[in-house]
Amino acid sequence: MADQPVLEVRDLSVEYRTARGVVRAVDGISFSVPKGAILGLVGESGCGKPTVARSITGVLHQSARIAGGELLLHGRDLVSGPPKAWLDARWREISFVPQSAMNSLDPVYRIGSQIEEVLIHRGGKTRAEARARASALFEMVGLNPGRLDEYPHQFSGGMRQRVAIALALALNPSLVIADEPVTALDVIVQRQILDVIRDLQRRLSLSMILVTHDISVVAYLCDQVVVMYAGRVVESGSTRDVLEQPRHPYTMGLTNAFPDLESAAHDLVPIEGSPPDLSQSLVGCRFQPRCPFSLPVCISDDPRTEVAETGARFACHRHADSERLRRQSRDIATWQRPQ
């Protein structure tokens, strides 16, 4: 029997109350994070990625609530369990690396004391232990412990992102959630941070969820990938399987829309249109209005999740044709439609 996953998300739904009514930003998604793996959560803005990340950490916005489903951490459900259990798990079991480390560090406290604060108050360490651990954490992420007494403004963007990673690792959590950890950074710094994450994941056999919009980052770092579209999971599986043999037209579109250094001669293939408005009630496949392969059934019925022989899961009515669609999806004419 395989190891129990660190986290299992089962049929999770999250709703926001807004002026225009209830918006179901996440609608019945399921996936699991195996032990020691990095799982990439991809999709475009507005598809619900950050909401998923925030619901797992249990820090949703006030206007949001978990409308259904389970979040099983080591097999125990956080949603139905006592709130204290979730609170206790935060930072100790599940930690978070924010997108913008610039804004997540307090500008008026020394960086070292911000790390020690977590270690003392959440980790129950003494001041001396905390100091030693902070030094060790700095070394782990490639920072000089001699700079623990500096302030955030003395650090560059990449260094602050390293601090954010060190903070997330402070209490040896079993799951780290990173929300676009490299998006705001320059290419070289971005690569350095990706390498830090990769190295730590190997050494500490960390389990991670990496939220990103960048397929290249997923290809570089992730073992598993979950592709979201309009609050649903459209495809998931091993990174190799999903990126090399996408079975959902949206994933096909995403992989074709990416400019690539080596194959720049051909035209990029855009996906026309934009994601649906989630405050409306939606029938049928959510990608249907943008999908060049849609059939009448796609308008009327929700596609069921199919499981491929490789273990990849995908939700598309045209699952039997995926090989042919994949070929057609590389042609720009397939995606062009009258405006």
Binding site: E44, S45, S156, G158, M159, D186, V187, I188, V189, Q190, R191, Q192, L194, D195, R198, H213, D214, I215, S216, V217, A219, Y220, L221, T239, R240, L243, E244, G253, L254, T255, N256, A257, F258, P259, D260, L261, E262, A264, D267, L268, V269, P270, I271, E272, S274, Q339
Partner: protein
């Protein structure tokens, strides 16, 4: 003859272009009486031919945005000169300046901020025509034409719509259309797609490539995104701390980078394929301080190959033939 470097009369030619800003003074500067400067752009030459699209690549803080602003006369150089279509732009005034503004336009980075939220799309697009005194009767035609160029016709679909009612991809194309409505000869596009989602980014890039080809527009694309530059630019310049360190035809430059910095940039970019190299980057540390004008090569403290000469002598941009130039003693 395709290279702008050899053509007699390029559209944009900059020589020894320099822009320095006063740096915040430190306590030690006050004691020593120094007034430190940051050289955002430090004596660069560049040349853009008619209809040529040039990419300017570099990390934040390397001076690429300042270069773009200098070329459009949105900021004045501290030294050096810029000629646009053979005429120096530093002394332009009045009608001549307006004429220049009509011919050289800027495409902004963030489409969500670049448009006045209280203007309808039609007014947004007509505004440049009003400001430059183009006769009113022709406005509608010109706006329609610009919308067709960015593949968003007709104007009637935007009747009474405001920017917030459009998607990001549409907005960025409106921003581009606004620059095109004056029928410019030259545009500077500063990170034109960095705010957009992948699925719509491809559409905007295709439009840019098409516009360049059909209108014969010269363009400077400022970006940190190698793939974008590869996709839309025939020539690419790589900037590091205010200097151009390498230039050449884009495909060659990215395939066989000669400067160690370009090599690091190219190696740093993950590709959307599962089998890719995870080799360590050939670069150390972070971008160093841009204050002052250090002796020697500015990249040397991060360069894995640096030798004594790199500290003593500044490498100049050398011509290596086939349009390629590099500023490195070892290349």
């Amino acid at each position: 003859m395709t290279s702008a470097q050899t053509s007699a009369h390029p559209l944009v030619a900059a020589n020894g272009l320099t822009k320095r800003f006063a740096a915040p003074r430190r306590l030690s500067d006050m004691f020593s009486g120094q007034r430190p400067h940051v050289y955002a752009v430090d004596g660069i030459d560049l040349c853009i031919g008619k209809g040529e699209s040039v990419g300017l690549l570099g990390e934040s803080g390397c001076g690429k945005t300042t270069t773009g602003r200098l070329l459009l006369k949105l900021t004045e150089p501290s030294a050096g000169s810029i000629a646009f279509d053979g005429v120096a732009i530093d002394t332009l005034k009045g009608d001549d300046l307006t004429a220049f503004r009509k011919r050289a336009q800027l495409v902004f980075q963030n489409p969500f901020d670049a448009l006045n939220p209280r203007f309808t799309i039609e007014r947004v697009l007509a505004e440049p025509l009003v400001n430059t005194g183009v006769e009113r009767a022709s406005h509608r035609d010109k706006v329609e034409k610009a919308l067709a160029q960015v593949r968003l016709p007709p104007l009637s679909r935007f009747e009474g719509l405001f920017p917030h009612q459009l998607s990001g991809g549409q907005l960025q194309r409106i921003v581009l259309a606004r620059a095109l409505v004056l029928e410019p000869d030259f545009i500077v596009a500063d990170e034109p797609v960095s705010m957009l989602d992948v699925s719509v980014r491809a559409g905007v890039l295709n439009v840019m490539r098409e516009v360049r080809a059909t209108l014969g527009l010269a363009a400077l694309y400022i970006s940190h995104d190698l793939a974008l530059v590869r996709y839309v630019c025939s020539t690419t310049l790589v900037m590091y701390l205010g200097k151009i360190v390498e230039q050449g035809p884009t495909a060659d430059l990215l395939k066989t980078p000669l400067h160690p910095y370009t090599r690091a940039l190219v190696n740093a970019v993950p590709v959307p394929r599962v089998d890719q190299s995870h080799a360590a980057l050939p670069i150390i540390g972070n971008v160093s301080d841009a204050r002052g004008q250090p002796r020697g090569c500015r990249f040397r403290d991060r360069c894995p190959m640096a030798v004594a000469r790199c500290a003593a002598e500044e490498p100049l941009l050398r011509d290596l033939g086939q349009g390629r130039r590099v500023a490195c003693h070892l290349a």
